[in-house]
């Protein structure tokens, strides 16, 4: 019989307050196969881990159960401790008596009984655990960065500058993302384009970076160090090799009234276009949805004027296959659809803008050349009302989170407005001012004290047009009275939301996402840039609302994770993989069909003289991810899953 050590963690009071740990220890001590049972305040602490290691050596333990928090917290910690004590780490299992016991039950007695049963059944499981050896897989030293905004560019440059190869995929025609749209950035008020464009150029010219713009991720297979990624390069209808970026075609394009995405609808563009003047690459694409030729079969004006014959209407989407070792997801965010707030009149009143539109107005490269004027009549607004939390922090509208950047950019907007229009009035309706960050609070203070930003604490309840003015009614909750402001322009600090297709991308990548569609990190505090899928990392606002400094910091963190991965020739992978018993396999190939990873191959069994006896399934350890779907399909119980074998689970259930 085994010699199992059971270590019951109090987790301070977290467990001990509900579960009678001493009783649990006593119950385990009397269990067949348990050599020792100990309790301690924090087994995850250094002395706690040391005591486990000591016990492993002293009692010659053949298995360890740590009854503590969720294995998702500290399984790795305790397995490493066991390994350091010379016990194969896979002979250690975690009994979850915190998240799934002490924290969720009120009755101590029942919680204790449950803790005993949970621990006992895992003791039975661990008795059947086998020593497993990590699987070594080679690493392809090439990273895929999805998204060419500031986060993606930062990650790509950091990796490339350290010598790693990068494929940078951007779905728009140019790099830049949202940062390229901004005017000046808080809290330093440096010009966004001035700091962004050089980085875009650097990325495009970097010998280690392969840029795929106007491209999207089609398929991702494989696993850490060994992904096979298919990228769809959308047809640009402009030959990138021939085009010189002279812009002649855009001049001649007759389809001129297309609402420009880059300027958030504040200006128009042509059907053949570059998103903005500083685009990288600075070569146009044809928007086949609006192109007259694609609609009517006639026109080809661009083709006629192109000096290098770069226009090709026959062009088709191309699929690019990539071998990738690690993936950085930096797909950014979108601004929330303001239709959600009918009461704010967005769309109805042309002078109700989103924060991003205001950025374009304030931008020197924007449609007004940086002059803040009303879209309706081109007049300079005398009074602007800013409404914060337009969407954020409003569970009734489905967004409970704070978009994090709005407080800052609204303060910035008020400032920019005053800098450009010294007599302008700004009134800001807010819930709280959240200005935590280096120089942030000072920044908002400056807006109030130096630039006359008029903060009104309260929500806006109604907005209507009256005598050419936008009437804004809200409440000043500090003064406890209603406020009505006649404004010339209203700017909504709309919520930051995930990209509309983020969930699909999550499925393609096999990474988790939350209810909104922001991608899930492996651990909010301790593994904030990793995902639960090894080899895939998160940078920027695709994980949660972020400002530029945070996005850049996270991008660099991703780069360091990727580079750490690339610093090794081989990777060790969890040996939780399927294994086939060839003696009992009948070769029906149900497992082959069921496997999501094509990890099961057909293998010939031959006699000594090489004659085929029969064919059996054989698991490719490199490809298998350990889901166990094949095991359940296998009628003869031939395939089994290491770490979760039939014997282990049988014992676990029968030990309940």
């Amino acid at each position: 019989m085994a010699k199992i050590g059971v270590f019951v963690c109090h987790c301070g009071e977290n467990i001990a307050a509900k579960v009678d740990c001493t009783k649990l220890v006593a119950a385990m001590e009397g269990h067949p196969g348990v050599a020792i049972a100990h309790e301690y305040k924090y087994f995850c602490s250094e002395p706690g881990q040391e005591s486990i290691k000591k016990a492993v050596a002293e009692y010659g333990l053949t298995g360890v159960i740590v009854a503590a928090c969720s294995p998702r917290m500290h399984e790795a910690t305790f397995r490493t401790a066991c390994a350091e004590a010379g016990l194969n780490p896979y002979l250690c299992e975690i009994a979850n008596i915190r998240e799934q016991c002490s924290w969720v039950h009120n009755d101590g007695e029942q919680a204790t009984r449950k803790a005993i049963e949970i621990t006992r059944s895992l003791v039975e499981k661990v008795k059947r655990n086998n020593e497993l050896q990590p699987i070594e897989v080679p690493v392809t030293r090439r990273a895929l960065v999805i998204g060419g905004g500031i986060a993606g560019i930062q990650a790509a440059l950091d990796i490339a500058n350290a010598g790693g190869e990068v494929v940078l995929v951007e779905r728009e025609a140019s790099l830049g993302g949202h940062m390229a749209q901004l005017s000046e950035t808080f809290p330093t008020l440096d010009c966004s384009q001035c700091i962004m464009t050089p980085r875009m150029v650097e990325a495009a010219r970097h010998p280690k970076i392969r840029l795929l713009t106007y491209s999207e991720i089609e398929k991702v297979e494989g696993f850490i160090g060994n992904f096979n990624v298919t990228v769809r390069q959308k047809a640009r209808f402009v030959d990138m090799n021939l085009c010189t970026g002279c812009g002649e075609c855009m001049q001649k394009c007759p389809a001129k009234k297309i609402s420009g995405e880059f300027d958030c609808g504040l200006a128009n563009r042509t059907a053949i276009y570059t998103p903005f003047a500083q685009a990288v690459p600075n070569k146009p694409v044809i928007d086949s949805e609006h192109c007259i030729f694609f609609k009517n079969g006639k026109c080809k004006a661009c083709q006629r004027v192109c000096p290098t014959d770069a226009i090709n209407f026959e062009m088709e989407d191309e699929l690019v296959e990539l071998e990738i070792g690690a993936i950085v997801v930096a797909t950014g965010f979108q601004v929330q659809n303001t239709a959600l707030y009918g009461e704010y009149g967005y769309g109805r009143y042309p002078d109700v803008l989103t924060g991003l539109q205001f950025e374009r107005l304030a931008s020197a490269s924007g449609p007004t050349g940086g002059k803040i004027t009303r879209p309706s009549d081109g007049k300079e607004p005398e009074t602007i009302v800013f409404i914060q939390c337009a969407g954020s922090r409003d569970p009734s509208k489905g967004i409970a989170y704070c978009s994090k950047i709005c407080c800052m950019y609204t303060a910035k907007h008020a400032m920019l407005y005053r800098h450009k229009n010294h007599d302008g009035n700004s009134r800001i309706f807010y819930m709280d001012i959240r200005a935590a960050g280096k120089g942030y609070d000072e920044f908002t203070r400056r807006a109030i004290e130096e630039d006359g930003a008029g903060y009104v604490r309260g929500r806006v309840s109604k907005l209507w047009q009256e005598n050419g003015k936008l009437m804004v009614r809200g409440a000043d909750t500090l003064l406890g009275r209603p406020v009505e402001v006649a404004a010339d322009m209203v700017v909504l600090a709309t919520a930051m939301v995930p990209q509309p297709d983020s969930k699909e991308l999550g499925k393609t990548l096999g990474i988790g996402y939350d209810e909104y569609g922001f991608f899930n990190e492996a651990h909010l505090k301790l593994r904030p840039v990793e995902t639960a899928t090894a080899g895939i990392f998160l940078a920027g606002a695709c994980q949660s609302p972020k400002d530029i400094p945070d996005s850049v910091a996270q991008a660099s963190a991703c780069a360091s994770k990727v580079l750490a991965l690339f610093s090794r020739d081989k990777l060790e992978r969890e040996p939780v993989i399927a294994q086939n018993n060839e003696a009992t396999c009948s070769g029906c190939w149900g497992c082959v069909l069921a496997c999501p990873y094509n990890a099961i191959e057909k293998k010939d069994l031959t006699d000594r003289s090489g004659n085929l006896i029969r064919r059996v399934a054989s698991v490719n350890a490199g490809l298998c991810q350990g889901c166990g779907t094949c095991v359940t399909f296998c009628r003869s119980n031939s395939i089994d899953l290491a770490g979760f074998t039939e014997k282990q689970i049988f014992a676990e259930v029968m030990g309940l």
Partner: protein, 149 residues
């Protein structure tokens, strides 16, 4: 007076979604009845019908099988396979008279701590109302006697 009936419920869950959801219920300090024992598997694809039968043999009054929502499987499509198996096995169980309330299937994501807690609440209550799975318990008891002279 005898003790009130406390059902024994065994839950087979995937580690990526429902197990994480159950953890979330814990970190959110939600409360639910202590009748459920969770067996963690890598994926719903790994959950064999045999597990359910063995849970009953161990005296379970109810069994819950739960994993990621369709499309959310960490292993891409383990849960689609699982769903087919459950469809067939569930039909079989019902046909052989295992009452519907004894075996439940659900999708609970890592974000659905509340759903987990509420589900455990409701199935515990349902089984508490239905009472012990006497018919199965009788079969277990019979294994200790010989069907003969």
């Amino acid at each position: 007076m005898s003790e009130p009936f406390e059902p024994k419920i065994v839950a087979f869950v995937c580690t990526y979604c429902t197990y994480a959801g159950a953890d979330l219920a814990g970190t959110s300090r939600l409360k639910y009845p202590p009748n459920v024992r969770i067996v963690r598997l890598p994926c719903t694809g790994r959950i064999s019908p045999m597990f359910i039968l063995k849970a009953f043999q161990k005296g379970a009054d109810g069994v819950l099988v739960s994993g990621c929502h369709p499309g959310d499987c960490h292993f891409d499509h383990g849960n689609y396979h699982a769903r087919r198996r459950w469809t067939a096995f569930n039909a079989l169980l019902q046909f052989t008279g295992v009452p519907e309330e004894r075996v439940k299937f659900s999708w609970i994501s890592a974000a659905e701590g509340i759903k987990f807690a509420e589900l455990i609440d409701s199935i515990t209550e349902e089984i508490r109302t239905a009472g012990p799975f006497e018919q199965y318990h009788k079969l277990i008891a019979e294994t200790g006697s010989a069907a003969s002279v």
